[in-house]
Amino acid sequence: MKGQMTRRDVLKGLGLAAGASLLGACAAGGTPQVVKETVVVQASPEVVKETVVVEKVVTPTPVGGPEATVRVFDYDPTGTDAWVQADKDFELYFTAKYPHIKVIREQAPWAGFTEKLLTSIAGGSRYDVIYGYWEWLPQFIENNVVSPLDDMIQADPEIDPGDFYDYAKEVVDGKTYGLAWFISGWLHWYNKTRVQEKGATLPKDMDKEGKWDYPAWYQFAKDFTYEEEGKRIFGYDMSSTRHPTVYCMLAWAHGTDLWEPDFSRCVMDSAENLEVWKFIQQFYVEHLTPLPGEGGTGEQAIGYTNGRVTATMAGQWYTRSIVQEGAPNLFEIGMVRFPKGPKGQFSVAALNSFYFGSKPEYPEAAWTWYKERSFSEAAAKIYASIGGGRFPSRKSVAPQTVYAWEDTEVYEAIRPILRPYRVSPKESEFIPLFNAAWDEMVLQSRPVEEILSQLATEATQLLS
């Protein structure tokens, strides 16, 4: 009948609608629009205490070339909002600049990163670029998961190897496997407001006068541990010393290390290491630091950013936690280097480098992605909000900060004392041994001498 819709009409309509949607999607998915923009970064979601202006993305000039695909196994930063946004911005930038290079990115969170990578590769997956962490490098090399960068560096006129700080390179047996895109220089963060209210000398001022040493560190922790309204305020958070890559700074300051220079023996049983472990133990015995397992989450959390701990230690990546948790709204942020020990003052250069896969299908395209992600000016701007750029890997690049409360003087003072951590050939097995020994030290289950003697023996056996 006239006016009545038939089944054929309905189907025709649905088909047209589907086709139109498909065309619309194709049109919308054209070349991404990248624009130069200035954004305001709030110090905290609730109260804007300060604003900073950063260049978020730069407008790239598209570069042509043969079509290629680059497979990247990358870190999944879900939970760190600034990093998630930075990754999105970089993807937009790279796609606009290199429309001929298709990037396939797989991501894994930190927990279980190596397990997922290992099983993926064992299952036949291939990656051209892999997010790196120095703990894994020796075993990656041993198992041909990664390949050296030396050929790519030498063939690239844009890269000057001499421009890189020595501490920025991950070198094993004379071959360069990583050029750090992010260097963390570790330092101490303290509650400047609290110190000033008490009329005490700021640790930074003590450091300038050469008085910021280990006895001063201990005394600071004692002075700023007290009870307040039924809650304990702790002077320091020493939990980071559980990791050897943080502990090493205390060892170096006392003239020792974790291993012999040739890794022939673990020297954790040296007299100097014993002295350092007893120093750390003091904080736990006297409860100047939160005990493992102490505190909870949310309001029950015990940390620096909510004022329950007066000082802590972390790399400059900690700025993103400080901002995310709104600490600048509560107190003034103070920064100071690690204290001076009997044999010097050091800060560890904790490196994050990407590694090259063992057989990249399109090595030039993979190197292009590697360079852009690691050293480009755009990437430096994009990743500045996650703490990058304070310690550039290259001498020709000026350091950058993001937040007004960051003390550039302290960063400058840290630069000359940066030293890379020496990764042992069996680092992934050494770390659990170290952790277990540290737990025993905190629990005081045995004399520290016994604990360290066993640790040194078992660690040495790993390499035999």
Binding site: I121, A122, N143, G295, G296, P432, D439
Partner: protein
């Protein structure tokens, strides 16, 4: 059904074409399972045996090293012995506690009251809760100063220990957490309780048995097959304790919760020593098999089967 039996035609004087056809149809139906077993279970097991005699990182090819992995385990590896001790500690506490809790729960769920089906469902729910989610929940409940458990203990004026950082109690906490899954065993016990013939209880009552006598001389003997089943399953399962330790303590503090399978996992996936981990796996298999065989032998003395075995 063994592969050999499956291949051999039934032995009868004459095989008609119909029965031959039926036999092949049966094999065809079983074939998917057999293939799956060969590809996903037997094959990997055989490969694992081979790898246990190799230095194998998964990322590069396996190199034959003979008995080196096993020798090192038994002569040099302190953590192997420690993980065995931690696991044995857990097994010998968790299994009896688990059985008693499950059985008690089943007795309660065997009562005819209003809403009993709801109670049965509620007690079974923890069994189907994802183990990682459960572990994370327990982490918060037992967390340091401000976990719910410690908050209640403090209100009652009782000590509130640091549950996951005291080596003396951490394993006990995991034993307690294991009771969370008691509903699984309870359902099996419940099925057994409901199959105990009522005539036996009636006869016992007539003979003057009280409630305890009926429980001791009727219920328990009739339930021994179920108890035996849950005992064997419990031993097999508790020897493989992993998720809680992996999520909550990562084997700490001071390796006090470094259970065997967690140590195996670390060797396989963190240390890139799949060959060594394979050796660990076969030792665990041997231990569990020994316990199971021993239980089967001991069962002849205390398990009552109505039908002859």
């Amino acid at each position: 059904m063994s592969t050999v039996a499956w291949l051999r035609l039934p032995q009868t004087a004459k095989r008609g074409s119909l029965s031959r056809k039926e036999a092949w149809e049966g094999r065809a139906f079983v074939l998917p399972w057999v293939l799956g077993f060969l590809v996903f279970t037997a094959g990997p097991m055989a490969a694992s045996v081979y790898f246990s005699f190799c230095d194998y990182s998964v990322l590069s090819s396996a190199k034959w090293v003979g008995l080196q992995n096993y020798t090192k385990l038994f002569t040099q590896d302190r953590l192997f012995r420690l993980s065995l001790y931690n696991t044995a500690y857990f097994v010998f506490l968790a299994v009896p506690f688990g059985l008693v809790t499950s059985f008690g729960l089943a007795l309660l769920l065997n009562v005819r009251v209003r809403g009993i089906n709801l109670y049965r469902s509620l007690y079974y729910l923890p069994v189907i809760t994802p183990s990682v989610a459960t572990a994370l929940t327990w982490t918060l409940l037992f967390a340091g100063d401000y976990g719910v458990v410690n908050a209640v203990l403090r209100k009652l004026g009782l000590p509130a220990p640091n549950w996951f950082f005291d080596p003396k109690i951490t394993k006990l906490v995991f034993v307690f957490l294991g009771l969370w899954g008691a509903g699984g065993g309870a359902i099996i016990f419940l099925a057994g309780l409901q199959n105990v013939p009522q005539t036996l209880y009636e006869a016992a009552s007539i003979d003057g048995a009280n409630a305890w006598d009926r429980f001791r001389y009727v219920t328990i003997p009739m339930m021994t097959p179920i108890i035996f089943f849950n005992l064997v399953q419990g031993i097999i399962g508790t020897f493989q304790v992993f998720t809680g330790a992996y999520i909550i303590t990562a084997g700490g503090p001071a390796n006090s919760t470094l259970f065997y399978v967690l140590y195996l996992y670390n060797n396989a996936f963190r240390f890139f020593k799949m060959g060594y981990a394979s050796a660990l796996a076969w030792i665990l298999f041997s231990i569990i098999l020994s316990f199971t065989v021993a239980q089967l032998e001991l069962a002849k003395r205390w398990v009552y089967y109505e039908a002859p075995m």
